[in-house]
Symmetry: C2
Subunit: 274 residues, 2 copies
C-alpha cells in the first residue's frame, strides 16, 4: 500500500504515517503540498493519503477541509491522533537573539503564537510548505534563521533545539485522517464524518439537522463551519458523529439529514481513535 | 473618538475605518497587530477598535475571535462589510517571472491561494503584520519581491499593479466589527453576537442551544466553531442572530441559553449592515 503524505521526511505527517498500522509493509511517499498528496490519491498514483484536518490549538486545517468538498470522492478510512511538540530549531551555535527570520508551515505559527509574540517579536515569519522543508532550508544555510518543527526534523537535518516545546498549550494534538477510495467496515466503535450545505435563508436549518442526531441519541463529536467561498454567511458544515453509517440509527439519521440539506458529502465511517 | 486599526496606513482596515460613520470628526490610530489594537481599547488608550472577524473566502480571522473570549469585555457596536480586491504589487518595472518572494498578511495568502499556486508556484510566502506593511517593505527595496494588498497601498507606497484582482473569488468581502466599551441601542434592524462553550460530553448540547432560537423564529446568521486551545473536541461556538438583546424574544432566548451552556460571552447588539 502506497501512502502519500506531506514531505519531505521529518514532518509530523511522516510521524503520523508511521503510527498508522495500515502502512506495515507499505510505502510512504512524500508530496510537497497537501493538495499534491490529495491529487495523487484522486489520480490513483497512490492508494491512500494521510492528511491533517484539525489541531487542538489552531483549529481546522482549512486547506484539507476545503479539498474534501471541492474535489469529493476519497473517504476517511482511519483517524490518527498525534501529540505534537513544536521546537525552535537552528544551526548549532545560533542564539535566540540572533534569530531574525522564522520559517515554518503556517499551522505552527498559529500553534506557537504566544512564544513568537513574546520571545521573537522582531522576527519575520516566512511560510514554508512544511515544517521539515523549513528545517531543511535552515540547515542549508539561511542566515539568522530558525525553523519551527519536530525533534525528528532537528535530528534529520542536523539542527539544534534552540527552544523546546514552544506551542501555546501542552495539550497540542493534531488529528490526521487516512483517505482512501473507500471507507472502513463497522468495528463496533466507529465514527462517521459528513459535510453539508443548507438552503439559504432557512431559519433553523442547522437546528433541524442536529435534531436528527439528538433525537436518536447519537453523540456529535465535532462541528466546524467554513465559508463556501461564494457569499458571506453561506457555510459548509463539517460534522462528526459516533457510530457507523451502516448502523440502523445512524443510517436513519443520515437519510433524514439528506432531506434537510442542500448538498451532503459522506466523508466516511472509520474506527474511532482513542 | 479615537479608533484603533491595523496599520500602517493603506490597509483594508484603514479603508473600513473610513466607511465607519462613527469616526466623523474622529481620529484613526494605526497599531501593528490586531492584538495591539485590541489591547489599546482594553487599556482605554483609544475609544474603539475596528477589527476584521471574517472573510467570505478565507473564513474566520481566528486571532480576533480568540481575543474576544480570551480577553472579554469589549462589545460590538457596529459592523462594516468591506468588498475586498487583492492585487499583486511590485516596484515599477518588476515582471511576474522575477518575483521570488511574496509578502502579505496571512489572510490574503488564503484568499489568493489559487493565484499563488498557479502563477507563482516558486515564490516564497513571507507573513507580514499587514498588507500595507508588506507594501511598505517592497517599496523600501526588498529584492525580487511583491506584496499582496490594496490599490490604496499601491498608491501610497508608489508600487505598480503587477496583477489585478487575484483573489480566488470575485465575491470577496471582509466583515469588520467596531469594538467599544458598550454596544448599541436598538434600531429595529439589529444583529446580536454571542460566544459560548458547552459542558463536555453532553450529547445534543448544541442542538438544545440552537433550539432556543429556532422555537422563537429567531434567524441565525452565522455559526462558527474554534478550538478552546485545551482539549481536542472542545470548542468555543460563535453565533450571530438577527435581533437586539433588548427585544423580548431575543432576551428570552438568551436567558434560556445561559442555562444550557458552560460559559456565555455577550459580544454585543448592533445595527445590521446591508
Amino acid at each position: 500500500m502506497r501512502v502519500a503524505y506531506l514531505g519531505p521526511p521529518g514532518t509530523f505527517s511522516e510521524e503520523a504515517v508511521s503510527r498508522c498500522d495500515l502502512t506495515q509493509g507499505g510505502e510512504a511517499l512524500p508530496y510537497s503540498t497537501f493538495a499534491d498528496a490529495y491529487d495523487a490519491l484522486l489520480s490513483r498514483a497512490v492508494d491512500a493519503a494521510l492528511l491533517p484536518i484539525e489541531n487542538s490549538i489552531e483549529g481546522a486545517v482549512s486547506t484539507v477541509l476545503d479539498l474534501l468538498v471541492l474535489k469529493p470522492g476519497p473517504r476517511i478510512r482511519r483517524e490518527v491522533l498525534l501529540p505534537v511538540r513544536q521546537h525552535l530549531l537552528a544551526r548549532p551555535g545560533t542564539r535566540l537573539e540572533d534569530v531574525r527570520r522564522v520559517l515554518s508551515h503556517p499551522q505552527p505559527f498559529g500553534q506557537c503564537a504566544r512564544f513568537l509574540r513574546e520571545r521573537l517579536p522582531q522576527a519575520a515569519l516566512e511560510s514554508q510548505t512544511s515544517t521539515a522543508e523549513a528545517a531543511r532550508k535552515v540547515a542549508a544555510g539561511e542566515s539568522a534563521a530558525a525553523a519551527i518543527g519536530s525533534r525528528a526534523a532537528a535530528d534529520r537535518y542536523g539542527l539544534a533545539l534552540l527552544a523546546e516545546s514552544i506551542q501555546d498549550s501542552d495539550e497540542n494534538v493534531t488529528r490526521f485522517v487516512l483517505l482512501a477510495p473507500s471507507d472502513e467496515a463497522p468495528t463496533g466503535a466507529d465514527r462517521t464524518s459528513i459535510a453539508f450545505t443548507l438552503d439559504r435563508d432557512r431559519p433553523g436549518g442547522l437546528h433541524e439537522v442536529l435534531g436528527e442526531f439528538a433525537r436518536r441519541g447519537i453523540n456529535l463529536s465535532k462541528i466546524e463551519s467554513r465559508p463556501t467561498k461564494r457569499t458571506m454567511g453561506h457555510y459548509v458544515f463539517y460534522l462528526d458523529f459516533e457510530g457507523h453509517r451502516a448502523e440502523p440509527a445512524c443510517a436513519e439519521a443520515l437519510a433524514c439529514v439528506l432531506g434537510r440539506v442542500h448538498t451532503l458529502w459522506l466523508l466516511g465511517s472509520y474506527p474511532r481513535a482513542t
